[in-house]
Amino acid sequence: MKLFCRRVIAALLLCAVSGIAHAQEKTAVRQGFELKRNSQKKILVFRPAVSVGAQSTGGMFEPNADWTEKSKANIRIALEKFQRQLGNEIVIAPEAYGEDARKVEEYMALFSAISQAVIEYQFFIGNRLPTKKMDNKAGIFDWSLGAGVADLPGAKDANYALFIYNRDAYGSTGRKVLQVLALLGPGIAVQSGEHRGYAGLIDLKTGDLLWLNADSQIGGDVREPDGSEKRVRQLLEDFPGSAIEKEAAK
């Protein structure tokens, strides 16, 4: 009886955790920011960061070069399709080399860290920081990459930058087996697979994050062309001024 109760609690907890994930906010806009369609503003699009691998039984990320290359190509094609519908003029960031390439990479890593902090400490209701709770009540969404973004390659030719970050870890067979065994045995909820997708619009003068769509369990198998299209659509469908239709409305 005791064991049965434990399993029921585990199952309820799993439902509660996934319920929280679904109820959680995913997008936010900086207070006062508005971007209308055809506003004559230029958006600098950086090459999306893509890393794909497997999730080991212990939950570690194991990169897979083949999946990553395939996904990069798929996402590039999908982005080329959707960026035309963003509602404003697109400028493709120039190919960066040497120090410039390192700088772009570090800002992309900072964008990812900010997105994770937003998800963990502002979007996740049960884990909100007290100061972020006060921000939310006042309608404040105040995050920044800093004014150093003005030195990124191509920044002088645009008003805003679009950063896109993807990291996908597909649950290995061992992880999936563990997920089942952990639930049936000690009654622990184990997540198999991790699919993070973040898209953000950044003011190229101040570095302020103007719009963010950040999801730690986003859809679309990026290893497949259809899945990548779904992913990019989900990342950009709420973009301010965008003409991209939501998938459900199709």
Binding site: A16, E106, G126, P130, T131, K132, G146, G148, A189, Q191
Partner: protein, 197 residues
């Protein structure tokens, strides 16, 4: 399955995160407060958040925007024979210990070896070390850089002193891009306000 194995797999922390609703506490500007279950008190000059999850028995973490972006950790009287933070597994992942023979000038090295082992870092560089007062005692102030597995290089600044055989320290870690410079003055004001009863 043992409890330590569950921690190693990251299972229990995931569950704790889901059930520790509203657990972080506001640390209000101008209000004196005890930190790290020790005799140390600080008076912040702006509002901070104290995280509910403690990295160790005598350690406590504060942040403004999340630990990814600004992390202040207080170590309140680490006694000889103990690590700075709680070991995930004493057997498989032991951490370096503060000992009775540790000199205050060796504290930067202790933090480096702890970070290398605990965070699995490949790159950590101590940039500068200088004598400085902390908690009214002779101590050390040092700065450092490290690159985490999220490929982000973070800069750190710390103050430490050994008082009556125990180690007292406060560290500030933040990405070198924007976040370190943005909040270093707030950290220094916080560290300056620290007093030992």
């Amino acid at each position: 399955m043992r409890k330590s194995s569950l921690f190693a797999l990251g299972l229990i922390p995931a569950l704790l995160l889901a059930v520790t609703a509203d657990a972080h506490k506001l640390r209000t500007s101008g209000v004196s407060v005890a930190v790290a279950d020790s005799g140390v008190r600080v008076t912040p000059t702006r509002d901070w958040n104290r995280l509910d999850v403690k990295p160790g028995k005598k350690a406590e973490t504060w942040t403004l925007d999340g630990t990814q972006l600004n992390d202040v950790t207080f170590y309140g009287g680490i006694e000889p024979g103990n690590p700075l933070v709680k070991e995930r597994s004493k057997k498989r992942e032991p951490l370096p210990k503060f000992t009775a023979a540790t000199l205050v000038v060796e504290v930067p090295e202790l933090l480096e070896s702890t970070y290398r082992a605990y965070k699995g870092l490949a790159a950590f560089t101590v940039e500068s070390t200088a004598p400085a007062k902390f908690l009214g005692q002779d101590g050390v102030r040092f700065t450092y850089f490290f690159t985490d597995d999220d490929q982000l290089t973070r800069k750190g600044e710390a103050r430490a002193a050994i008082i009556k055989g125990s180690l007292y320290m406060v560290t500030f870690d933040a990405p070198r891009l924007h976040y370190f410079d943005h909040s270093i003055a707030d950290f220094r004001a916080l560290a300056d306000s620290a007093k030992l009863n």
